[in-house]
């Protein structure tokens, strides 16, 4: 309902105490058109009575209080600035900076040593790997050569076999001779075989013939 006056309306401030705040009536919960409450229809608002003696005393007290507060604020500001200055530029700050720099240097040297050590280890490892790879390569080459040799040998043997077989092939010269031979020797492929592998060459016809 009330709102603080900042600078708008000119109000006489003779009697008001220096440190107090002036209030002004402002629309709150109700709108312009809302009717006044029944209990408040004939009410005339009066501010609380002001005791002039007390007011004067209060004014003095407030001026004193404001003075002391302003001085305190400046004191605190100065202290804060001095602390900040000390932190940034003071003697302790330099020592801290020096210590940090030393720490940094030692850590960097340690890091360098670690790098060298890891480098050596890595070199050894890489060397070993290279050697292993070379050995594998040679072995693989040997295997390949062996496979090649065996293949070649097999093929040669096959050729020899075929050459041998070629001697018994039927050519144009052997044709008549072979026909004669074939006609002279009739071959009988009619046989039975047992589960145990016993071959039986005598057929049913032959048995019948033998019986009779």
């Amino acid at each position: 309902m009330f709102q603080v006056i900042t600078r708008s309306t000119p109000v006489i401030r003779l009697l008001a105490p220096r440190g107090a705040v002036l209030v002004e009536a402002v629309r709150g919960r109700k709108t312009r058109t809302d009717p006044k409450a029944k209990s408040k229809e004939g009410r005339i608002k009066t501010p609380p009575p002001v005791d002039p003696v007390e007011m004067v005393v209060l004014r003095e007290r407030f001026t004193e209080y404001d003075l002391i507060m302003r001085a305190l604020r400046l004191e605190f500001k100065e202290e804060m600035l001095r602390k900040r200055y000390e932190e940034e530029v003071g003697s302790l700050a330099e020592e801290r900076a020096k210590q940090e720099a030393e720490e940094h240097r030692s850590l960097m040297t340690w890091n360098q040593e670690e790098n060298l050590r890891m480098l050596k280890i890595r070199e050894l490892r890489v060397q070993k790997e290279v050697e292993a790879a070379e050995i594998k390569k040679t072995e693989a080459a040997i295997l390949r050569e062996q496979a090649m040799e065996s293949f070649v040998k097999e093929k040669g043997e096959e050729i020899m076999r075929i050459q041998e077989e070629a001697k018994s092939f039927i050519n144009l010269e052997n044709l008549d001779q072979r026909i004669e031979e074939a006609l002279d020797n009739p071959k009988n492929y009619n046989f039975a075989i047992d589960k145990d592998g016993r071959v039986v060459k005598r057929t049913v016809l032959q048995c019948r013939l033998l019986q009779t």
């Binding site: 105490p17 005393v57 007290r61 507060m69 604020r73 100065e78």
Partner: protein, 133 residues
């Protein structure tokens, strides 16, 4: 005033920092408890503050004491940065001795004392009148 726009993500145009009392939690109970807090002026009373500088318990404990805690170093820092203090905080700190005593506390006590004297004068008069009667 020192430019404090690096604090928090919300920066205010023309706002300043205040040291004030903020109600601390316990919303449903009949048990208030205040934190003395440095916050931006425009923020709600109980919302995010910059730093807590103490607490104030308005209800007296079993030894009839109202406990107040104050972080004087940080209050000095914030006052140096240009923070204002509200009336209740100023009164509390005045009673604590950190600030000078607020004039209103003195006037309130004087008024209270005057009323008490009047009541005392009225009471023995009644007593005398009754005796006379």
């Amino acid at each position: 005033m020192v430019h404090l726009s690096s604090f928090l993500l919300k920066t205010y145009h023309g706002g300043h920092i205040v040291i004030r009392l903020a109600m601390a939690g316990h919303k449903q109970s009949n048990r208030p408890f205040y934190r003395i807090v440095a916050a931006y002026n425009k923020r709600a009373r109980d919302s995010k503050y910059i730093e807590q500088l103490g607490s104030y318990d308005p209800l007296p404990n079993i030894y009839n004491e109202k406990l107040v805690s104050i972080n004087s170093d940080r209050i000095k820092y914030w006052m140096g940065c240009g923070a204002h203090s509200t009336k209740p905080v100023a009164k509390l700190l005045g009673l604590a001795g950190f600030f000078p005593l607020h004039p209103m506390t003195v006037t309130e006590t004087e008024r209270h004392r005057a009323l008490a004297e009047l009541a005392e004068e009225a009471a023995p008069e009644d007593g005398v009148k009754q005796q006379q009667l």
